[in-house]
């Protein structure tokens, strides 16, 4: 219990005045009577309970006293001094990195903290809470929220985002939101270095919750696979961070979650063990899962995409050397061959030529630079890119084109010069550049190799993979049928989300193998991988640092009191009214 508004204590004067009035009022007027015979009898009757009679006689006085006392109490604003959270402003910083999933068998650290936050939320006493999650970058979940229901909902919705916490970022961010008010910052993490905390502690109390426990961990540090002539070979690196020798089982699954290989590995205490799996079947992606007895399971699974991209680039010898040079810088395996040899190329290899006849075939994607069947004509004017996809990293509006070949019929125009087609895409998907390198200065611009890279990606990406992402990473990716919607599924064919705009791809939070798929298209595999830092656990500590004034540690839960007091005052007023009505003022 405490009092919020001690200044109102002066109102005690009012009841004192009433008490004094009652003290000094005429007590008993003496009256001589012939005999008190009957009076004694009367008094005998009423004096059965003197206390009760006294009460009855002074009802109005006591009611008035009570009324005044309650009024004073209301003005003083009492509250229950519950074990309250310090500080006027409360900030909860929640680490949502993967290492928060360490589990002592009963409960993960993250769940434990969620429960703790629930407990704390009940002790807020009307103070506002800001909840910040820490991942690669800090994120505000709640800002100065006072409603307990909202706070608890936000706590329930907290989830591990598997990223690696970036403390320096978070601290800078925290400094910006800590106001001049006294602030209590709760940091819920597994392990945090004391040095990470800012030195400014005036009016800020840092309460850091660490794990206080060294968890047993064996992590699958690295996993990779390569395709060779012998088949697929996979390598796994397992780090035993415990102080005991351990036995583990490594299982390798293919993209369809089918078990491909299984191997028992013995791990020496505190050492990294390498293990190789040979002669695996060809597949697009491999997932390794480590079965071992430890307390942190998030780092026991890794996926690897197989380098299945076998497409090569063949450049026609008759083309300008710069074309070959440019492609070589993109892919060292680029070959330059004669037009005759070009015709023999099988599979999905990119052919770069000026032979218009290649546009008819559909097996290999073709980049046609110039036309051998038409004569060029001079052109002058502005270059305008119609389809931005190919020029996304390399705007071409500043290049100079001297001459232009006539357009290819039935083709989509991607860029124009003086409203005449400059770059086209045929129905078969081939790209046509209607100029020779000799007729333009494009090759001298940095946009040229980037354009070629874009073309290569666009034409050969059909069976490609999207790569590896950090949990929740945002990255611009280029999918071939970009206007279409891609659905993203996990390796277990569980629907995750739909990708509507490939410009803002956000990787799922949970590490694992995923694929994006559009209607009738092949699946594009990608991996969400845990960051290496999250594979090592360190022991955390719980500590407090800095201080806030004690005044702010009081939770002021006065709402209940005020309501009760006001109801009581009303009740007393009614009672006084009734007593006065029945007995009058004097009695």
């Amino acid at each position: 219990m405490g009092i919020s508004n001690l200044a109102f204590l002066w109102t005690i004067v009012f009841p004192l005045i009433v008490i004094i009035y009652y003290f000094f009022r005429k007590k008993y007027s003496v009256q001589e009577v012939s005999s008190t015979l009957f009076w004694r009898e009367v008094m005998k009757e009423t004096k059965v309970s003197p206390y009760l009679q006294h009460l009855q006689r002074n009802t109005l006085f006591y009611l008035q006293m009570l009324l005044f006392l309650f009024m004073i109490l209301t003005l003083l604003q009492p509250y229950i001094k519950s074990k309250a959270i310090a500080g006027e402003q409360i900030i909860w910083v929640v680490d949502t990195s993967a290492s928060m999933l360490v589990d002592d068998g009963k409960q993960s650290v993250f769940e434990k903290y969620k429960q703790e936050m629930h407990t704390l939320s009940k002790q807020l006493g009307g103070k506002s809470v800001t909840i910040i999650t820490v991942d690669a970058e800090p994120k505000i979940l709640l800002r100065d929220e006072q409603k307990i229901a909202t706070i608890q909902k936000a706590i329930d919705e907290l989830q591990v985002t598997y990223g690696h916490e970036n403390w320096s970022n978070t601290m800078d961010f925290l400094q910006s939101i800590i106001e001049k008010k006294s602030t209590a910052v709760y940091i819920f993490t597994d392990a945090m270095d004391r040095k990470q905390l800012p030195t400014r502690t005036k009016n800020v109390k840092w309460i850091v919750r660490g794990t206080d426990h060294k968890y047993q961990n064996i992590s699958l540090q690295r996993f990779g696979a390569i395709q060779s002539e012998k088949g697929v070979q996979a390598i796994a690196q397992i780090d035993n961070q415990t102080k005991k020798n351990q036995q583990a089982t490594l299982k390798v699954y293919d993209a369809n979650n089918k078990l491909m290989a299984e191997k028992n590995v013995s791990l020496k205490a505190g050492q990294v063990t390498k293990t190789v799996l040979n002669d695996l079947e060809m597949t697009t992606a491999l997932t390794a899962k480590l079965t071992v007895n430890d307390e942190y399971t998030a780092d026991q699974s890794m996926s690897a995409l197989l380098a299945t991209d076998q497409s090569r680039i063949y450049v026609d010898q008759s083309l300008h050397q710069l074309v070959f040079k440019a492609f070589q810088s993109i892919d060292p395996a680029t070959s330059t061959i004669t037009s005759k040899q070009l015709k023999t190329i099988q599979g999905r290899n990119l052919l770069v030529t000026n032979q218009t006849q290649f546009l008819k075939q559909t097996q290999n994607p073709v980049l046609l630079i110039g036309r051998d069947d038409q004569k060029a004509f001079p052109v002058q004017g502005n270059i305008k890119a119609i389809d931005q996809n190919l020029f996304s990293y390399a705007p071409i509006d500043d290049i100079y084109v001297e001459k232009l070949y006539p357009e290819v019929q039935n083709a989509k125009t991607l860029a124009t010069i003086d409203d005449k087609p400059l770059i086209q895409q045929t129905k078969n998907g081939h790209i046509v550049v209607l100029t020779d390198l000799q007729m333009t200065d494009w090759a001298l611009h940095p946009s040229f190799p980037l354009f070629l890279w874009n073309v290569k990606e666009k034409l050969t990406a059909t069976e490609s993979q999207l790569g590896t992402f950090k949990p929740g990473e945002k990255r611009v990716i280029s999918l071939p049928n970009s206007p279409k919607n891609y659905d993203i599924y996990s390796a277990d064919n569980e629907y995750i989300t739909t990708l509507t705009d490939n410009g803002s791809f956000v990787a799922p939070a949970k590490p694992g193998l995923y694929y994006a798929k559009s209607d009738g298209d092949d699946a594009f595999y990608f991996i969400v991988a845990l960051e290496q830092q999250e594979k090592t656990l360190s022991e955390g500590t719980t500590f407090q640092y800095g201080e806030v004034s004690k005044k702010d540690t009081i939770a002021k839960d006065d709402s209940v009191f005020s309501t009760i007091l006001i109801i009581m005052i009303l009740g007393l007023l009614i009672a006084e009214w009734e007593v006065q009505r029945r007995y009058g003022f004097t009695n």
Binding site: V30, Q31, E32, S35, T36
Partner: protein, 292 residues
């Protein structure tokens, strides 16, 4: 208290002279009085004739009748006897209430005057702790003396209980005993007292004096009531409930007192002193056939 106050005005005195105390009591004094008695006696009032039987007083023979009819008849006359009236005044301190005391004294004087006027024997006494001789006279000439005797009573200051001690000051063989009191004593005491009275007098009358204040107290607030007799204070917070309770007590006492009087053949009359002596004498007492 001076004489003028106690003494009745001349106008009253003449008015009072017209009244006399009425009583059917058979106990009479030995002296001749002015009251016709039921007994045959030697008064001038004729009663009836009766045949002579041997042994009768021959002096009472009606010679005229004998002369005319030659039959022996005895002529009988009603007796004329004096009444022995005693007035017992309650002089305990409870009577000290100004109005009450005044009316009590006036009543005593008025009734006493009536008695003396009719040449009856009047005695007057009150419970006194001293051995002051009580007034005891016969005849109208003692009226002034009686008035003075009453006027001498300055203030009621008798200590102790009236009902308990009254018996000692009442003479025997009374025709009428008039008790003037406020009746504010315990019923048990009254009962003991009343029980003895029929032996002493043939006609006992209890005149209860009550003040308006007693009948309907007008006190409000917290009042310390001081008993005039015992001087004991009693704190009472007046409220409707207390007053109602008081009224109930008083009425109960009144009824029981009346019942007690009835039980012992005592005439009971309750008088409100605030009505004034005139009203009491000529309305209330006459209405009750106490005086005529």
């Amino acid at each position: 208290m001076n004489k003028a106050k106690t003494a009745l005005s001349p106008e009253w005195s003449s008015r009072i002279r017209r009244y006399s105390l009425q009583s059917k009591s058979r106990i009479r004094g030995q002296h001749k009085g002015s009251h016709r008695s039921k007994y045959l006696g030697s008064s001038l009032e004729f009663s009836d004739f009766r045949e002579y039987h041997p042994g009768d007083d021959v002096r009472q023979l009606d010679w005229n009748v004998l002369a005319r009819t030659e039959k022996y008849f005895i002529k009988r006359f009603l007796d004329e006897q004096e009444m022995r009236v005693h007035i017992l005044l309650d002089t305990t301190k409870s009577m000290a209430q100004r109005e009450k005391w005044k009316v009590a004294k006036q009543l005593t004087v008025a009734l006493g005057s009536m008695v003396l006027n009719k040449d009856d024997h009047l005695s007057f006494s009150y419970v006194n702790n001293t051995t002051l001789p009580p007034f005891r006279k016969k005849g109208a000439r003692f009226q002034k003396a009686f008035e003075q005797a009453v006027a001498k009573l300055e203030k009621p200051d008798t200590k102790g209980n009236f009902a308990r001690n009254a018996l000692t000051v009442i003479p025997k063989d009374l025709t009428v005993l008039i008790i003037i009191s406020d009746g504010l004593e315990h019923l048990e005491e009254w009962q003991i007292f009343f029980k003895q009275l029929p032996k002493l007098a043939g006609d006992v009358r209890f005149l209860q004096l009550q003040t308006a204040e007693e009948m309907a107290p007008s006190y409000t607030g917290d009042v310390q009531l001081v008993d005039m007799e015992t001087k004991e204070p009693l704190n009472v917070s007046m409220s409707q409930a207390v007053l109602t309770s008081y009224q109930q007590m008083r009425m109960a006492h009144q009824k029981q007192l009346e019942a007690l009087c009835h039980q012992y053949g005592i005439a009971f009359l309750s008088i409100k002193v605030n009505d004034g002596i005139q009203h009491i004498l000529f309305q209330q007492l006459t209405k009750a056939y106490w005086i005529r």
